[in-house]
Amino acid sequence: MQEWANHLCENRQFGSKMTDSKYFTTTKKGEIFELKAELNSDKKEKKKEAVKKVIASMTVGKDVSALFPDVVNCMQTDNLELKKLVYLYLMNYAKSQPDMAIMAVNTFVKDCEDPNPLIRALAVRTMGCIRVDKITEYLCEPLRKCLKDEDPYVRKTAAVCVAKLHDINAQLVEDQGFLDTLKDLISDSNPMVVANAVAALSEIAESHPNSNLMDLNPQTINKLLTALNECTEWGQIFILDCLANYTPRDDRESQSICERVTPRLSHANSAVVLSAVKVLMKFMEMLPKDLDYYGTLLKKLAPPLVTLLSAEPELQYVALRNINLIVQRRPEILKHEMKVFFVKYNDPIYVKLEKLDIMIRLASQANIAQVLAELKEYATEVDVDFVRKAVRAIGRCAIKVEQSAERCVSTLLDLIQTKVNYVVQEAIVVIKDIFRKYPNKYESVIATLCENLDSLDEPEARAAMIWIVGEYAERIDNADELLESFLEGFHDESTQVQLQLLTAIVKLFLKKPTETQELVQQVLSLATQDSDNPDLRDRGYIYWRLLSTDPVAAKEVVLAEKPLISEETDLIEPTLLEELICHIGTLASVYHKPPSAFVEGSRGVQHKRLPGSAGSGESESPDAGSAGGVSEAPPAVIPSQGDLLGDLLNLDLTPPTATGPPPPSSGMQMGAMDLLGGGLDSLMGDESEPPHIPPRTHTPQSPQLPHQSPSPPDYSPTELGGDLGGSPAMGSGFGGPPAAMPASFSAPVSGGLDDLFDLGGGVGMPMGAYSPPKTIWLPAMKAKGLEILGTFARRAGVIQMEMTLTNKAMSVMSDFAIQFNRNSFGLAPAGPLQVLTPLSPNQSIEVALPLNTVGPIMKMEPLNNLQVAVKNNIDVFYFSCQYPISMLFVEDGTMDRQVFLATWKDIPNDNEAQFQIKDCHLNSDAASNKLQGSNIFTIAKRTVEGQDMLYQSIKLTNGIWVLAELKVQAGNPNFMVSLKCRAPEVSQCVFQSYEAVLKN
C-alpha cells in the first residue's frame, strides 16, 4: 500500500492530472470528513470529483459507507455520469444501510418514467441490484411497466431484472406473475430481448429443478432458432444451451435443428462453438447412421474443435476437457487429427497433461508409431509431472495397441537406462501392467528391472516391483534375497507395499517352499503381531490359516489366474458419459462429474440423457458400441493395489461365513491359541458366545486384556515345509484337526469379515440396549464440509458405531476410511468404513461400523474417550467422542450367586464407590428389566424395611467384572448404587451408564 501511495505521488509530480490516481492521494485520517464537505459542495464538478474519489476508495476495498447520505444526495442530477457513479455506490452499500437506501427509492421510481430509455433501463437495472427488502417492494410496479416498455433496450434489461428479483425473493416473483411475462418475452420481436429472457429463465430454472419453466415445444424452438441468427454472441450461448435441453420429436426435426445450428460452428467466440457442438452431439444421436447428413455432420464437427486448440491456453484447457468426452463418445470425429494434440514445450502444464490424455485415447494401430515417438520425446522434458504421465502413457499404449507392445517395452527399457529416478519408477509401475496384459511374453526384461531395485523410493513403484518379484519368483534366482531386503524396514513401508510384500512372500513360499520357510514365518508374524493395520493383519491371518489348513487350496487361491486387465483403464462409465455429453461446455464437463454431484443446490436430481436414435425410440443408446466400440470395453479394471484384492476376494469364504458359529470346544480353543498366539485368541475370545467360556476368563481377578499375555506361536517351520507336498491332512501337525480349523476361524471371520461383507444385517434393529441419541461429533465447519453425527450401540452382541455422514460441501466426497487412536478398551473398527458410493453434496448417509475390542490399548482420560480419524478424498479429520461404557457390557455378565458373594467380600472396601441416581420414577422390577436390556444382570433381590436391594453383575469386554448393589425405596425417586470392582477407575463410567439407562 505504502509503495503504491508513493507511486501515485510520483505520478502526481509528473503532472498526470488526467488520471484517476489523484483520487487515491487523500489517505489521511480526515479523508472521510474532507469528502463529506466536497460531496455537499454547490459546484457540480466538485461533487462529481468527490464521488469519483469515493468510488476509487471502494474499488480497493476501503470502507466508505459512512458517506452514504451524502452520496445519495447527489443522485438527483441530470448528469448521467454522476448518476451512474452514485448508482455504483448504492449497489455496494445499500445492503449495509437499508434504512438510508429508502431515500433513493423516489428517484428510482421517477427515473423509471424518464423519457430517455437509457435512464429508464438504468434505474430498473440498479434497483434490481439493491438487495434490500423495502426496495424490492417498490420495484414491482416499475418492473412490470418496464417489461412491457416500448423500447427493446428497456425490456431486455427488465428481463434480467426478473432473474435478480427472483434471487432475492422468489415467492414475490411468482406471486406477481413475472415468470409468465418473462415466458412471453421469448416470443418478443427483438432477438436481444429473446436471448435475455432465455438467459433469465435458465438461471431461474436452475434453482427450481422441477418447475417446468422452459416449456419447449416446436413453436418456441422455432422462435429461438430465428433469434439465434440475430442476437449477440452471448445471447447465442444462452439460446444454444437452452436448445440442448429440448428433445426433438423425430429424426427429421432433429436434422432440421442441426442444420440451423451448424453455422454457429464458425463463430469467433469459442463458447458459442462449444455450445453448438453440444447441441449437435446430442441431436446427432437421433439421426440414422446411414443418412448422408449424418456423415456430413461428423465431418463438420472436427475443424471447429481443432480450431479451439489454437486459442488462448485457458480456452484450450476447457476445450480439451470436452474433447476428451467427445473422443470417448465418437472417436471417429477426431481420429485423423492426432497431430494437433502434440505437445509444444511451452504449453502450460495443465494443457500438456490434457493433450497427453487425448493422444492415448486416439492412439491406434495406424498412428502408434508417431505417438510413441512423441511420447519418448516428452519423457525427456523438464517438468516432472508431465514426464511421469508420458511414461505412463507409453504403458497405456502398449496395453491398448497390442502390435505396439514390444516397441513400447523397448522404449520403456531405454528410459530405464537413463537412470532418472522418477522415470525408472514410473516405468516399473507400467511394466507391471504390461506383464498382466501379456503374460509370459516380456519377462526377459525382469533382470533389467531388478538392477534398479535400490533406487525405488516411491510406494507405488516399490509395490509394483515387489509384485513382479513375487509373481515371477520361480524365474528370479535370488527372489528370496530381494524380498528379504524389503522386509528389513517392513514397518516403515506404506500399507500398499506391506500388503504387496506379504502376498509376494507367500507366493514365493508356495513356489519355492524349501528355502523360504523362515521368510514366510517372519512376514506373517510381522503382519499379524506387530502391525496396527487391520487390513494387513486380516490378510496375514487369512494367509496363515490358509497355509496351515490346506496348502493346496492356498496354492489355488494365491496363485490363481488373474483376470485380464482391460484396455483402457480410465474410461468414463457409459451412462455418466451420456449425461456429460448433454452437459458439454459446462463445469460438469470440465470436472467429468455429473452436475448433480457438485453444483451447490442446483438442478436437483434432474439427469439428462441422450435421446435414443431413430427407429429404436425407447432403448437408451443402442449405438453406443457400434459408434466406436469403446463403450463396450469390459468393466474389468486394475485394482489400485495390484491383484491382491482380487486374490483375497477369490477366497472361498463359504465355510466360515455359514450361519452362526458352531459351538466351540475348549480343545479347539486351545488349538487355535497355540497356533495363533495371543492376538487371535483374544480376538476369538471376545466374539465367542457365552455358554462354554473357559473358566479362567470367568475369574474377575485377572482382567484379561487382549495382547496382554501373548503366548508365542507354537509353530514349527519344518513341519510346515514338510507338509506342503503332502496331503492336506498333514496340516494336523499345526495344532488341531484340519476340520476344526475353519470352525474356530469362524469366530473372527463372522465377527469381522462377515460384518464387512454383509453390513446392515443388524443395523437399525432395536435390541433394548440403551443407545444415546446421535450428537455432532465433527461439525462441518471443522472438516471442510463433512459433518458427522454419531452414537454407539450394542446390537446383538456387536458393538457398533453408528454415524450419519453429511456432505455439506460443494464437491463429492469419496474414499472414506476410519481409524481409532489407542484407547482404554482396545476398541477398533472390525472392518473398513463402508461408504460404497461417493457422497454427493447435501447428501447424508447412515453407516454402522462394527467394532471389536482387540485394538491396541492405552488408558484415556476420561476412560471412555475415543479419538477418531476420518479420512476422505479431501483430507483427514480428527475428533474425539465418548462412548457409553454400557456398550462394553457383554451378554454373559450373569455371575453365579456364590461367586458374587465371594467376590464382593474379596474386593477391598476401598474399591467401593457409592452414587445417587436422582429423580428416577421406576419400581425395582422395572429398573431391573431396563438394566437387563443393557446387560446389567440382577442376580439377587432382597427386600429390607420397604427397601429393595438389587444385586447386579456386569462383565466388560476385557473381562473386568463390576458388582453392584442398587437400593430402591418405594416412593423415593432417589436410588442409591454401590459399585465394587477390582478396577475402581471404571466405576464412574459405569455409574453414568446406570443413570443413562434408567432415565431413558
Binding site: D20, Y153, T232, V318
Partner: protein, 418 residues
C-alpha cells in the same frame, strides 16, 4: 452467471474488485493464491478451480490475473471469453493493460465493468458500443471536460445496441473513406532433430480497418477459397453467402476488427520457409558442451525472410556460453538461462551460423533434457498458405473508397527439437 471479478497482479496482490451480485469477500481468492504459489510459473495456474462454495475461473494476461467468481453452473468458456474481452477492452481504451494503467483509470474501469455485465449477464461488450457510452480517456478530452464540466459518459442509447447490426454505430462520416485488410498467417510447427516436420499448421487471420461513411455493404472474394475449410467469422459476416458462394459479405463495424480467422490444418502440406541445422551436445566428461546452429532458406516463395530470431531455453546447469555469430547478435541471460540470437534478415547466399562452447556447472550431472529452439520470423507480402484476395466490392453507398490488402507470414509457435 459471473458473480465477481478480482484483478490480481503477478505477485498476488488484489488491486481491484468488482461485484455484479452480492459482495463476496476477497478471502475467496486465497484458494487461488494457494494454487498459484504451488504452480511456480504463473502461466501454469489451472484456469478452473473449485472451492467449497465457489468456482474460480481465471485467465493470465499481460502479467495480470483476471479472476472471476462463479456460484452456479456457467459455461466456463463463456467466462474465459468474457475475461479476455475485458482485457481486450482495457487494451483498447488505455493502449495497454497493466496494473498501473488500470489504477490510473480506475473510475473508467469501473464504469466499463458495470456496462459490460448486468447481474452477471453480458450487456455491452462490443468496442463500438462501449465507446459511445463511455468515451475513452484522451488528454484533450480530459482537459476539455475539466474546463466545460461535460462528462465522459454518453447520455444517449447507443444506436447499435438494438439494431440487427449491433457492431456498427449509425451515421458514421469520414472525409477519406478507406478499407484495409491484412491477411496475416502464423505457422505453428514442430520440427524434429533431423529437420523433419512432426506437425505443422497455419493459423490465419484477416484483420480489417474500415473507415467508411454510412452503411457500406462489402463483399470480399478470394482467388482460392477452397483452402478455407475451417473458419471463424466476425458476427457481421453472412454465413449463408459463405456457404453457398464462398464470398465474405458483410456490413463492417467501424474501425479495427478481426474479420475472420482460419486454420489450414495439419493434413494439408504446410510450407516451412526455413531449415534449421543444429547440434547441441554436452560432453560426458568435463564441464562443457557445444552448440552449432545454422539457419537457411527453404520454401520462401522467393520472398525475403526478416526478423529472424532464435530463442533457446538452456538447461539449468549451463552457466555461460561462448559463441560466435556469423550474423546478428546473441545474448545469454544468466538468470533465466535463455539464449537469444537476433539475426535479422536472412541472407540466402550465406546462411547465418552460431557456434561455440557452453560451460556447464562443474560437478553437475550431464543435462538430461534437450533444449528446444524457438524460431521467430516474418515474411512480408506472402501468405504462406497461398491464400489470395480476389476483389472487394462495396454496395449501398455511392462514394469510391480507397482499398488495400496486405499479406504477411509469421512464425507462431515454431519449435525445433534437439
Amino acid at each position: 452467471m459471473i458473480h465477481s471479478l478480482f484483478l490480481i497482479n503477478h505477485t498476488g496482490d488484489i488491486f481491484l474488485e468488482k461485484h455484479w451480485k452480492s459482495v463476496i469477500s476477497r478471502g475467496v481468492c486465497d484458494y487461488f493464491l494457494e494454487v498459484k504459489e504451488k504452480a511456480v510459473e504463473p502461466e501454469n495456474v489451472p484456469p478452473v478451480l473449485q472451492t467449497p462454495h465457489h468456482y474460480l475461473i481465471s485467465i493470465y494476461r499481460d502479467k495480470l490475473f483476471f479472476l472471476s467468481v462463479i456460484q452456479t453452473e456457467v459455461p466456463p468458456l463463456f467466462v474465459i471469453e468474457f475475461l479476455h474481452r475485458v482485457a481486450d477492452t482495457f487494451q483498447d481504451y488505455f493502449g495497454e493493460c497493466s496494473e498501473s494503467i488500470i489504477k490510473d483509470n480506475v473510475v473508467t474501469v469501473y464504469e466499463l465493468l458495470e456496462e459490460m455485465l448486468d447481474n452477471g449477464f453480458p450487456l455491452a461488450t462490443e468496442s463500438n458500443i462501449l465507446k459511445e457510452m463511455i468515451k475513452p480517456p484522451t488528454i484533450l478530452r480530459s482537459v476539455v471536460n475539466t474546463l466545460t464540466g461535460s462528462s465522459n459518459v454518453g447520455d444517449k442509447l447507443p444506436t447499435g445496441q438494438l439494431s440487427n447490426i449491433p457492431w456498427r454505430r449509425a451515421a458514421v462520416k469520414y472525409t477519406n473513406n478507406e478499407a484495409y485488410f491484412d491477411v496475416i498467417e502464423e505457422i505453428d510447427a514442430i520440427l524434429d532433430k533431423s529437420g523433419m516436420t512432426v506437425f505443422a499448421e497455419i493459423q490465419g487471420v484477416i484483420e480489417a480497418c474500415t473507415r467508411l461513411s454510412g452503411m457500406p455493404d462489402l463483399t470480399l472474394s478470394f482467388m482460392n477459397p477452397r483452402l478455407l475449410d475451417d473458419v471463424s467469422f466476425h458476427p457481421c459476416v453472412r454465413f449463408k453467402r459463405w456457404e453457398s458462394e464462398r464470398v465474405l459479405s458483410f456490413i463492417p463495424p467501424d474501425g479495427n476488427f478481426t474479420l475472420m480467422t482460419y486454420h489450414v490444418s495439419s493434413q494439408n502440406l504446410v510450407a516451412i520457409p526455413v531449415y534449421v541445422k543444429q547440434n547441441i551436445s554436452f560432453f560426458e566428461t568435463g564441464s562443457c558442451g557445444r552448440l552449432d546452429i545454422t539457419i537457411g532458406p527453404k520454401q520462401t516463395m522467393g520472398k525475403m525472410v526478416e526478423g529472424l530470431m532464435v530463442t533457446v531455453h538452456m538447461p539449468k546447469a549451463v552457466l555461460s556460453v561462448n559463441l560466435t555469430a556469423s550474423q546478428g547478435n546473441y545474448t545469454y541471460d544468466l538468470a533465466t538461462k535463455v539464449l537469444v540470437w537476433d539475426i535479422g534478415k536472412l541472407n540466402p547466399q550465406k546462411p547465418p551460423n552460431l557456434r561455440g562452447t557452453l560451460s556447464v556447472q562443474s560437478g553437475a550431472p550431464r543435462p538430461e533434457e534437450n533444449p528446444a529452439l524457438d524460431i521467430k520470423l516474418k515474411i512480408q507480402q506472402l501468405a504462406i498458405s497461398g491464400l489470395k484476395v480476389n476483389r472487394l466490392d462495396m454496395y449501398g453507398e455511392k462514394y469510391k473508397p480507397f482499398k488495400g490488402v496486405k499479406y504477411m507470414t509469421k512464425a507462431g509457435k515454431f519449435q525445433v527439437r534437439t
